[in-house]
């Protein structure tokens, strides 16, 4: 049995009056954007950054290790590259789909998928960077008595940095974009307000969140460019 009668009159909160722009679903309502910033935009922006940072960091560690391994053991480059390319070619949604039965609707699912997409980009960047170290430089370094680790850390990796950083830039921008799809799995990231705003068309919400995703991609890319400049001063030096 259930009692369908109200237990008493509920107090209905005053939710305020929406502006004409909001009621008419204008292209972009600045008033709403600003008033909802702290609830609708800021938390997803933060979780988006965290998602991307985790994915790119883990992807970097794995792909960097794999890149070093493939560089030292050339025969591994083919198989690793093929495996990473395979992961990269999976449609993100399909990958989520495959993972959900094992890892559930969780951040773990999202991160696994995001990491998968960064691997081939960073792996190749590391491998191309290391392979691009001029032979005469490597020979000179060896001939002067640098051991394998000194060669790697003093010569090969620094010279591979420009390539590695461009790989990181591509991986980061790509991850910022793919992470919006994560909202199909977890209620996190900028994809969340976008998806909600698309199903109940509200322009300000998806325009705002979409613009934030684009700005975030630009900002992170810019940061990596700066990082690259700081780490590779010689690339700017010309006579």
């Amino acid at each position: 049995m259930s009692d369908f009668a109200p237990a008493g009159d509920p107090v209905i909160p005053d939710y305020g009056q929406a502006s004409d722009c909001v009621i008419n679903n204008g292209a972009f309502c600045t008033d709403w954007f600003l008033s909802q910033w702290s609830t609708v935009f800021w938390p997803p922006l933060v979780s988006h950054i965290v998602m991307v940072a985790i994915a790119v960091s883990i992807g970097f560690v794995i792909a960097f290790g794999a890149g070093l391994l493939a560089y030292r053991k050339k025969w591994l480059a083919g198989p690793i590259g093929m495996a990473a390319t395979f992961l990269y070619t999976l449609p993100p949604l399909a990958l989520f789909q495959l993972l959900v039965p094992f890892t559930g609707l969780s951040l773990l699912t999202v991160e696994i998928a995001l990491v998968c997409f960064t691997l081939i980009i960073i792996f190749q960047a590391v491998l191309v960077g290391l392979s691009g170290v001029p032979d005469d430089v490597r020979r000179a370094a060896t001939g002067m008595g640098l051991d394998r680790n000194q060669l790697l850390f003093k010569v090969e990796l620094p010279l591979a940095l420009p390539s590695i950083i461009s790989g990181l830039r591509i991986a980061t921008v790509l991850t910022v974009s793919i992470a919006t799809i994560a909202a199909f799995v977890v209620d996190d990231g900028l994809g969340s307000p976008i998806i909600k705003a698309v199903s109940s068309p509200f322009n300000t919400q998806f325009v705002g969140a979409g613009a934030l995703a684009v700005l975030l991609a630009f900002a992170l890319d810019g940061l990596l460019v700066l990082l690259g400049r700081v780490l590779t001063p010689w690339t700017k030096a010309r006579s």
């Binding site: 001029p134 005469d136 430089v137 020979r139 000179a140 370094a141 060896t142 001939g143 002067m144 008595g145 640098l146 051991d147 000194q150 003093k154 010569v155 620094p158 010279l159 940095l161 590779t232 001063p233 010689w234 030096a237 010309r238 006579s239």
Partner: protein
């Protein structure tokens, strides 16, 4: 380690290298002794094994059989890494690290050897002065990309000298330079070599460079066999076999003239003027061009030929030393024979 440690001999003792899968050795039982302080050029056609011979010394390539000793010590007595840190190494295109400044490039080996900063700074400055890049403050913070080819090569030499190794290996170090820069860097290197006395093994494919630089030349022929090992003058005047003769080329006689300067034959007293007094029939020097005492006979001959004259008037520091006749130039007595004495 002192700043100018005297060189140490390098001895190849039936040194042989056969690369995996190769039918014939790249270097076949090479016996060669490079004396302390000597500059020996390894020359020969491609496939003669000259670079292999060089890289055997610092174990970039491992011996198949035989031995190489630096001083009394076999190169296999210590680890390859430790060995290499006692050997200066300079290669074509300089092999400078593009991401290191000039200062850091030169400091590479001192840093891995754990020298303190002050010592490294002093040494770096000293070496830049030595290779003619001064004021040093201008050059220390630059990256290789900011240097000309010749400047890069000078830094490459400074880097090879950094830890004051008794032995230098140079693998076609000037091969990529334009002819004018190349001559200048060769002259500077010779001066440095004479000043610091490092035992130097120098690979080049350019026989003229070898003639100019070497105390002795080792000519390798295909199959990695030593064809001849002797002073430039002897190699030129007395090739050991047809291969050497052919390798030296049709201009062998002219190349020989490059071993002697005009100044040497003027001071040797075989001037046209003296000849005239003994003959009593002094030839006219009218129309003879002026040449500098430092010119090689080959260069002076070129000047005389261009002037369609029978001889040249020799100057040094603006004062007239005497004259040389066309005959003196093309048939100098014992040209270059006292070269050993010239060596520092």
């Amino acid at each position: 380690m002192t700043q100018h440690s005297t060189g140490t001999s390098i001895t190849f003792d039936r040194a042989t290298k056969t690369y995996p899968g190769a039918a014939v050795p790249a270097l076949d039982a090479l016996d060669l002794e490079v004396e302390a302080g000597e500059l020996v050029c390894l020359v020969g056609p491609s496939g003669g094994g000259k670079t292999t011979a060089l890289q055997l010394v610092n174990r970039l390539v491992d011996l198949t059989s035989g031995d190489i000793r630096i001083g009394d010590r076999s190169i296999t007595d210590q680890s390859a890494i430790a060995l290499r840190r006692t050997i200066g190494y300079a290669i074509q295109q300089s092999g400078l690290f593009p991401h290191y400044t000039v200062a850091d490039n030169i400091a590479t080996v001192p840093v891995v050897l754990g020298w303190d900063k002050a010592r490294i700074r002093t040494r770096t400055a000293e070496l830049l002065e030595l290779v003619g890049l001064s004021p040093v403050e201008t050059w220390l913070p630059r990256y290789p990309a900011q240097l000309s080819g010749g400047q890069q090569q000078r830094v490459g030499i400074a880097r090879a000298l950094a830890a004051d190794p008794p032995v230098m290996l140079m693998d076609e170090p000037f091969g990529a330079l334009d002819p004018i820069t190349r001559v200048a860097v060769q002259d500077e290197f010779l001066a440095i070599h004479r000043a610091v006395g490092k035992t130097t093994l120098f690979v080049t494919h350019d026989i003229d460079e070898a003639i100019k630089m070497a105390d002795r030349i080792a000519i390798l022929k295909p199959g990695g066999k030593l064809a001849q090992f002797d002073t430039p003058a002897n190699v030129l005047s007395d090739p050991a076999d047809d291969f050497v003769a052919e390798f030296l080329g049709a201009e062998r006689g002219l190349k020989r003239l490059a071993l002697t300067t005009v100044g040497e034959i003027v001071t040797a007293g075989t001037t046209g003027a003296k000849a005239a007094t003994t003959d009593g029939a002094r030839p006219s020097t009218t129309g003879w061009p002026d040449v500098e005492a430092t010119m090689t006979l080959r260069e002076a001959l070129s000047v005389v030929s261009a002037a369609r004259a029978d001889g040249a008037i020799v100057h040094s520091d603006g004062s007239r030393l005497g004259e040389v006749s066309l005959h003196d130039l093309i048939a100098p007595p014992a040209a270059g024979e006292d070269r050993e004495g010239v060596r520092a």
